[in-house]
């Protein structure tokens, strides 16, 4: 017994070390943290209180890393917001187009604007629908807002649309309220012009312009724009109207193609007439 006691005293450091290591491993392996839960919660609560007292001290490194993380998050959220806004706008557009399609009796084909070409004041859109979808030259292109243009060329899967703000555009049109007829042209700005309207005609700003049945290219009664200005040319007998198109061409993404070509019989008759005139009077 004495020798055992001496042994323990002599090697007390090693024996204690082994015991403490065993105890530590026991706590790690079998230690029931739940039993310490209340005490631990008390300690952590106390430390939390102390921590909150020190929370006013800025930590530059933590702030830097937090700022960096916040910036990244900000960029991500901004992208999300842009995407969501875009989706909302697109959704609204598609909803209104859907409503328009339901209410319109014309055979319509939905198409997407996949390209915009502008050469010397000649503006064209490329759509993702072509001959395979039944698209032909001369078909009108519209949106729920109004007239966009006319198909001038097709391939199997695409077509080219000459939009109304094009220097080659000549649109027989009519003032909705008074049924007065005229020809719309593009003056190179964001507006259309209607010239040669006699001063005796009842015309005022705010009147709507529709496509006319006199046109052999455009389907009648398609909204085109609104008169925003009526001016007189000095001593002239005519007025000049400034028309704002209903369609916003800069943000156009989806359109309808009216699957209806101009009446071939009428076209043939009018073309023969033109040929006869040219033959008789010569090309001017």
């Amino acid at each position: 017994m004495q020798r055992l006691f001496e042994f323990i005293v002599r090697f007390k450091e090693y024996i204690t070390l082994v015991l403490l290591i065993i105890m530590s491993f026991s706590f790690m392996t079998f230690g029931n943290v739940a039993k310490l839960g209340g005490f631990r919660a008390l300690v952590i609560g106390t430390i939390g209180t102390v921590q909150s007292a020190f929370s006013w001290i800025p930590n530059p490194i933590a702030l830097q890393s937090e700022n960096s993380a916040m910036r990244d998050l900000n960029v991500q959220l901004s992208n999300e917001v842009v995407k969501m806004r875009r989706s909302v706008i697109e959704n609204d557009k598609l909803r209104s187009m859907l409503d328009y399609k339901k209410s319109e009796y014309l055979p319509l084909l939905t198409a997407e604007v996949i390209g915009k070409t502008s050469t010397e004041a000649r503006n064209y859109f490329t759509l993702n629908k072509g001959e395979a979808d039944g698209v032909q030259d001369g078909m009108n292109v519209i949106t729920d807002a109004g007239l966009v243009g006319i198909v001038i060329s097709t391939s199997k899967h695409f077509c080219l649309v000459q939009i109304i703000i094009n220097r080659d555009s000549r649109i027989s049109s009519r003032i909705e309220r008074t049924r007065s007829e005229g020809v719309l042209t593009w003056d190179g700005t964001e507006y259309l012009q209607m010239r040669n309207i006699p001063k005796s005609y009842d015309v005022q700003a705010g009147d709507n312009i529709l496509s006319s049945e006199l046109s052999n290219k455009y389907v009648k009664d398609i909204p085109i724009g609104t008169i925003i200005e009526v001016t007189s040319d000095g001593n002239s007998l005519f007025r000049k109207l400034k028309v704002k198109p209903h369609v916003n061409f800069s943000s156009l993404e989806h359109v309808f193609i009216i699957l209806q070509t101009p009446n071939p019989e009428r076209m043939k008759l009018e073309q023969e007439l033109m040929k006869r005139i040219e033959k008789k009077f010569g090309r001017q």
Partner: protein
């Protein structure tokens, strides 16, 4: 200075009072280690003030006392932090035990006020962080580079560098008292 020498002589003469002072300092350091040490973190690495204290105790009081003190401090730190209970106790016990080998009876000034102290802290830190991270992180989840360089070497280095402050303090005060 006379007051300091008087206080030191009181502490030297009364071991119980000395242990109470150790306990109070340990509690304060535990709070500092948990609450405010993050303010001086470099790339997530912080010095371990409690380990520096355990090494100091082992060098002042000897291996046996250092061993017991290391375990107690480790347990308190385990409870105060969110670590597994027993993890810090184990690592602190072993590192205090190793530090105790460098205890020089009657030559405390030589142990604490010189670069020897830094080397002992560095060795104890290396042992402490190796045990701690081996059990805490489990290196299979980490690359060797991360495990060795960031977790062990960086923590050891930072703790060792931080121990310069107590070394300078001991160096100054031991000279005065002698």
């Amino acid at each position: 200075m006379q007051r300091m020498i008087l206080e030191q002589s009181v502490l030297t003469a009364n071991p119980q009072l000395r242990y109470v002072v150790y306990a109070i300092i340990a509690l304060l350091l535990t709070i500092i280690n948990v609450v405010v040490i993050q303010l001086i973190a470099v790339a997530g690495v912080t010095p371990n003030l409690l380990l520096i204290m355990c090494v100091t105790i082992a060098l002042i009081e000897g291996q046996f006392t250092g061993l017991l003190f290391g375990w107690c401090v480790g347990m308190v730190f385990d409870i105060a932090s969110t670590d597994d209970i027993g993890l810090n106790a184990l690592a602190m016990t072993v590192s205090s035990f190793i530090a105790g080998y460098f205890y020089l009876e009657g030559k405390t000034a030589k142990s604490l006020g010189t670069t020897r102290y830094l080397l002992v802290v560095a060795l104890a830190s290396l042992i402490y962080f190796t045990i701690y991270f081996l059990l805490f992180i489990r290196p299979v989840n980490s690359t060797v580079y991360d495990f060795l360089i960031k977790n062990i070497a960086a923590s050891t280095l930072y703790t060792s560098v931080f121990s310069i402050l107590p070394m300078l303090w001991f160096s100054r005060n031991m000279d005065r008292s002698s």
